[in-house]
Amino acid sequence: MPVLCSSCSEKRAVLKRPKTGHSLCKACFFWAFEEEVHQTIVAAKLFRPGETVGIAASGGKDSTVLAHVMKLLNERHGYGLELMLISVDEGITGYRDDSLETVKRNQQQYELPLKIVSYEELYGWTMDAIVKQVGLKNNCTFCGVFRRQALDRGAIMLKVDKICTGHNADDVAETVLMNILRGDIARLRRCTAISTASEGDGVVPRCKPLKYAYEKEIVLYAYFKKLDYFSTECIYSPNAYRGYARTFLKDLESIRPSSIMDIIHSGENLSVREGVKMPVQGTCSRCGYISSQALCKSCVLLEGLNRGLPKLGIGKHHRLHEKILSQQPLTEHEQRKLKSVDF
């Protein structure tokens, strides 16, 4: 006996929504998905008419769906936005060069301008070279920190007003869990915010329109709309700490599908006690980027790479900032500690 769509009650249901468990037909699902993203954008007042918005595109499913939905909603509801694609090339052979081909195809399909920034031209290092020096355990730190700055640099080059990324509900829930496991109170407070604060000259505010969309629904959407995306995991990711949080979240979802939204709800309602020390936003003395320390993290990491001390930047290193700034050489003991890397 065919199950009818629970929304229109006319057509046959072809899928079951992971988020609510209702059975829907294709058209109603598309409409529900797009309408939810639209409501998120409107309720959080993410954009203003006339703004230029950069879509961070990696060629993966989240950013492909994001580009598609943004273009669609921009036309359907008349946001009045000018959209562009920004892509970052980390220099991971076998992974990033393939996904960049997907982004170029997306550019032609959606007729949006595209800008690619690469680590090589910005920092002089590719991820492959970094992994050779750092090993497989802490490389995600380098990639993440560099990518954030790369996106901002790309956005400034293109003169966009806002960046939007394809972070979905699963990503936000994982981040909440990870910040608890790592004890990072400052990030815990900020990570459920849908958009970042917009102060500072060197920084472009960024937002997550897909914040309340489940990863499985994004895949369902892309599948039924026959969107073209690149679906391989980063080859360096298996050893990341985030993997633990991800496995836990997937298990939670299998027990109770609403737990992803429950975790986001918990994260939004956390409040930190008074008197807990929080970092203060300032600027980096070397490159002028925003930073809560004297030197921003990417300057510290780069310094470590250039001097052959891969562990500089991993772990506590505040006391060494003055030394780095004034170009003093580090002592023997410090050098030995920072050099040791376990593969």
Binding site: Y212, H265, L270
Partner: protein
Amino acid sequence: MLHPDGCEICADGSREAAAREASPWRSARSAFWKMKSRGSSAGSRSASKKCVKCKEELAAVVIRAGDAYCRKCFRENFIHKFRAMLGKTRVIFPGEKVLLAVSGGPSSCSMLSQVQEGVSQNAHKKLRFFPGIVYIDEGGALGQCKEMRQKTTSELCDMFRSTGFPFYILPLEQVLDLPGSVLTPSPPSDQPGSVYKAAVDLFLQSGDSSSDGKAEEQECVSLPAVQESHTRLLQQLIGSAQTLTAKQDLLNTFRQHLLVHTARTRGYSKLMQGDSCTRLAVKLLTSISLGRGAQLAQDTGFSDCRYGGVTVVRPMREYSAKEIAYYNHMFKVPSVVIPNLDTKMPDKASIQRLTQNFVTKLQADFHSTVSTIYRTGEKLQTAGRGSSAAEDAERCVLCVCGLDTAAEEASALQATLISEQLSQSSVPVKPEPPANVGQCCSSERPCGGAEGTGDCCRSSRDHEATDLRSLLCYSCRRTVRDMSSVDRLPQYVLSEAQRRQNRSAMKEQISEFLLDDADENN
């Protein structure tokens, strides 16, 4: 890791030689420990490892990597932590009656032995409160047979009797007979913290030699006879929850209600629970996963004031489960193994079980996991207004915490509601023809629904379910959604819910005449 006849973990050389003769297994194990600690500190063999505190005795136990203590120092440290926890928080006043909630497990039995030692010491370091013990027998909810329950309770009875404190053994079935007042925070009778020092001085001046006379006569309480019908009702209540997660959540809630009620009726102003650091870390992650972020500080903090007159304190929160296990083993603290709803269940049977496995496994690879999670929890506080000032209507009917269901703009709750709306038919289903009108409107309880719109004519189940939802916090709503029928909830919950609905309906009717800051807490 713990040998049956009590050998210490890194014994000295001479004892090792004897052990080697004694049994090959034992020697293999001690050789393993020697090998393991050979890698740790700068080249010293474990056999000659000194206690890090007194630096004289040989180390007997290693708690964290690098922290090796001898028996004496370990014991001192353990006892000191307990006293320091009570002392620095200044929550327990001298002369107060404190109820110890003992589940029979290692943490709560360890807490019991600490209190026992503390109360019986010489005057100057003596713990100055009057303890009582309570044990809740949950065998009915688990489906245990009468003989098993009797056996467990008589074992615990003997243990409690030997302490000399008054003790109460209650079956969980009594939760069905609780009054609705359990869900309302009673006015606190505590003095505020600033008066702590004055209270201590006063107590000392009045001479605490009278304290022995004040201790109640120990009541010999055997397990009260439990009616079969009550057990069946309880099982139906637990059985109405479809998922194990919801079952465990409900069980915890009702157990807590019964404990608070016992404390209130017997005149205890504090309730001590024996949650260890490991247990609290798991509870924190579980609470986050269940949507209890707003109530985290109350669930896992040192003191929990949501019940008003009775404050729940957790003095064992700085002990890891490992420490407690070592202490209980080395100093022969008795405890009983009692099964739980998720004993012997597979890993993914419930969220609580999954989280426990996750944290334990992660702790094995990253030794700082539990303490990091614990420290993170310490830095959080209860969101929204202070629990003492909130009115009845703004508290959850089940967990008595503040409500966190104001669906603000751009929040997860609002997004969920929108998704529900969009996935369902936009045409409202016509309500059932009013066959229930006569019944519903003529029943004794006045109908809370607005007059004339037909709201009160929906089937009674929907009526109760949707109305109950508005009185619950986010995670209790989720739990109740897993229940097949709300009617199975105990009467006190349902009648309290009805009372609150009536009051809010009344308030709505007279809202235009009420001035701001009308004081409802008399």
